[in-house]
Symmetry: C2
Subunit: 184 residues, 2 copies
């Protein structure tokens, strides 16, 4: 099976709608080793990752979709603050973050689905501040892949807590060979 | 925060007990693009990954724990058949696999917790057919990291389906830079 050639909003929403419950099932009530453990100085723990997903719901995906629909590629998107969560998550529990994420995502998907986007809409162009011209379907696909990037990161950060505990098995565990692949 | 130095069965069970619900939240009812899409010839799709986790519950983790407790390092573990799922999942739906995985994992954790393993037990040694001497705590930690390795793989396989759809954003998405890190 090769990669899909035609983007479908329903297929994207199928993943976007499941991410909060996935994070919830994995993280709610977990001991601190898993919630607060990171990969070393200036890296993210599970708590930071969920905070970052919340920031995306508030300031990235829907705002950029609106910019494309209202302004096309005449006006570049505002850059996304990848560190907003360090301020906004302060004093909250993981459980509060999971609730916030679920609530914001649900609201955003209601708005997205109410727009009932057609193929013409999906082809509309916007302007990314560094990447240049992008389309609405690329933005929506990136929203999905961004969820998956952070699930990928989360599994790696959690596995890192057992880097020593697994002993000689570490060579067989792919996630322990992964050094991350981006700044985010 | 550095990696944990003392292995705790409760911390391990906290993750092991959540993996079936995590997979369920992510995968149940998803369109085929996400369930059946793989990364190319001879690679695994989500359906294969859940089948592999089931095979581990049946033939790997608990059997090896029993071998350590009964035989110590006198008798090497039987090798783990990493391809058993292609036979055993045949004709089943993803939903059946998710139910089977949840049921087997729940049963295995009941048995594990009933053993009430102490520090002395966790230090007991077994013999891996290729890695040599390992301890019971290393086996249990590997069970956890193996779940996380396959969650890591699953997020990567799913993201691969949108490799083209995200357009120029692909360079910012860490999961799309990940080429996998092991055979499993």
């Amino acid at each position: 099976m090769t990669t899909s050639t035609k983007f479908s909003v329903d297929e994207a929403v199928a993943v976007l709608g499941r991410t909060p419950a996935t994070m919830d099932a994995l993280l709610r009530g977990l001991p601190d080793i898993w919630v607060r453990g990171n990969e070393g100085k200036d890296t993210w723990c599970a708590f930071d990752i969920v905070g970052h997903l919340i920031a995306g719901e508030r300031t990235d995906w829907m705002v950029r979709m609106r910019t494309i629909l209202d302004n096309g590629d005449a006006r570049p998107f505002d850059p996304f603050d990848r560190f907003a969560q360090s301020r906004e998550s302060q004093g909250k529990s993981m459980e509060q973050l999971l609730d916030d994420f679920a609530c914001l995502r649900r609201e955003n998907l209601v708005v997205l689905q109410a727009l009932n986007l057609q193929q013409d809409d999906l082809a509309r162009r916007g302007r990314h501040p560094t990447l240049g011209v992008v389309t609405l379907s690329e933005l929506l696909a990136t929203w999905v892949a961004h969820d998956l990037t952070h699930l990928h990161q989360l599994s790696r950060v959690m596995a890192h807590q057992y880097r020593d505990a697994v002993g000689p098995w570490s060579i067989y565990l792919g996630v322990l060979q992964c050094a991350g692949h981006s700044a985010g």
